[in-house]
Symmetry: C2
Subunit: 303 residues, 2 copies
Amino acid sequence: MPTSCAPSSCAAPIRRKPRPPNNPLSSMKIQNLRKKIDQLDSRLLTLLNQRAKLSAAIGQWKLASGSHVYAPDREEHLLRTLEGKNAGPMPHGALRSIYREILSTSRACQRPLQVACVGRELSNAWVATRRRFGSSDNYQSLSSLTQVINGLSRRKLDVGVVDRPTLIALVWEKPALAKKFAVCGDITLPARAGRNGNGARDVYFLLSHSPVPPTDYSKTVVALECTAAFGSVKEWQAAFSVLRRSLLHVEQIKWGKGNSKSRWLVELKGHWTADDLARKLEPVQMIRRWLIVGSYPEVPHYA
Amino acid sequence: MPTSCAPSSCAAPIRRKPRPPNNPLSSMKIQNLRKKIDQLDSRLLTLLNQRAKLSAAIGQWKLASGSHVYAPDREEHLLRTLEGKNAGPMPHGALRSIYREILSTSRACQRPLQVACVGRELSNAWVATRRRFGSSDNYQSLSSLTQVINGLSRRKLDVGVVDRPTLIALVWEKPALAKKFAVCGDITLPARAGRNGNGARDVYFLLSHSPVPPTDYSKTVVALECTAAFGSVKEWQAAFSVLRRSLLHVEQIKWGKGNSKSRWLVELKGHWTADDLARKLEPVQMIRRWLIVGSYPEVPHYA
C-alpha cells in the first residue's frame, strides 16, 4: 500500500445519467429506435460484405486484363450518381466520407492501393494523402518526387502525392519527365492561420500511370507564364477576359526560378483533349509559355 | 498564340485502356458485376438515410433529456457486436473505418460533435483527432489544455484531445482540476522513424464531461511513481509481478519534473470502479504515489 502519499484519482464519480424522461413511453420509444438502428446495421453489414465480394471478383478480372485498381473517373461518376439519388437527410459530404472508406475497402479486396507521398509521416503531404484515400489503402512516405515517379514507372505505386510547386517546377524545367506519369487529381488542405497570401494554399497533386479519360466534369490545370507581370487576380482576369466562361480558378503561385508575378496556375472547365483549350488560349497574346499540368474530374468542395 | 516558346504539356496521350478481355463474355460479366454493385449502392444509400433519420430522432430525445451526444461505451459495444456478426470478406478494420464515418454522420444528425485538440491545425494532435473522429464532426484547435478543460466545463465542447504527458503532468500537480473532466479514450499515432525510445509513442487522451461506465472490455490507465528506479520494462514487470494477469501495457514515460526512471504508465484490465484495482495495487510496497487517469473501453489495435 503506498503510504507516503495518498492515492489520487482523476476519475470523478460517474455522472453520466440522462435526466429521467418525461414519461416511460419515451424511454420505450428510444429502445425501439435503437433496436431499429441495430437491425439497419445488420443489413448494412450484409450489403457491405456483398459489395466486397463483387469488388474482389472485378479485381480478378482487372488483374488479368492489366487494368488499374484506381480509376478516379469511375469513382467520381459513382459518387455523383449516388448524390443525384440522395434524398437526405444525410448530406452529400457525409455520403462522400462514408464512401471514401467503402471504396477503399473495395479496392483493398482487389489489391490494396499503393499510395506514396513526398514527405515523412505526419507531414502535411501525408495528411493530405490520408484525407483523400481510405484506411484500407497502403501508404508509403518517400523523400523525393523522383522516387515517386520511379515507383509509378515500375508499377510499384498506383498513386503518388506531391505538393503543387514541386511538381510544376520539375515539369516546367524537364517536360520529357512528364511522359512518365499523369496528374489525376488534387487535394486541398485547409488554409492555416498566418499563412494566407501568395502560394499559401496547401494543394497537392495526385499522380498516376495514365491520364484520366474525359468526363462531364473534367477540369484542366494549366501553368502559364505571361509576358507582363500582374499585381492581382483582378488584373489578370481583366487581361484574360477571353477565358471568363471556362475559368474555374486562377491563382498566382511561385514555382522554380523566375518572376513569380508573371506565373499563374489556372483551372479551366473541360478536358485538355477537347479542342476548346487551344482555341481558348491561342488568341491570348500575353502568354509567354504554357504547360498543361493535367485533366481530371472536379471534386466538389465539401468532399 | 504564345510564340516565344512552344506550349508544352505533361499530359501524355491517354494510355489507360484495359487489354481486350479473353472473350466477349468476360466483358459482359464485368458489366453485370458493376450493375450489381450499383444496385447494392442504391440500397446502401437508402439504409444510410434511414439510419440518419433514426439518429436524428434519438438526438431530439438526447437534447431533451440532457444526455450526451458522444457515448464511447455505446459506440464500442455497437462495433464489437457488428464484428461478432461480420462473416467477411470485409476485414474488421475496414468495417470500423466505414463505421467511423457512419457514426460521425449519425452524431451530426443529432448535433455535430464539438471536438477540440491542444495543437494547431495539421499538428500531430490534430492528426490524431481527425483519425479518431469522422468528417461530419466539428473540429477546433486550441492552444492550451486549460482552454479545453474550460470548454468541457462550460459544455461548449464534447471532447478534448491532448497529448499524454501534458495531461498527466497537470493532474499529477493539481488533482482537484481533474474533477472538471474525465478521460474517455486514447489515440495512438504510428511511431515515427528516429523517434523510438522513451516517451516517443505519440499517444493522446480523449477528455469528456463524464467518466465512461464499465463495459466488458474496460481498461484502466494508472500513472505511478515507484520508490525505486527501474532501468527497463522487464525489471519493472519482475517487481510488479502481482499485476501480471491484469496487465495490458506498461511504459516508462516522462511527465512534469521528477525522476522519469521511477515513473510509469500502466494499463490494467477492468474498470477503476471495480474493487480489483485497489486489491491489485495495495500489496505493492514499491508504489510511492499513484493516480488513476481513467477507465474506458479498449479499442482493438487495427481500429
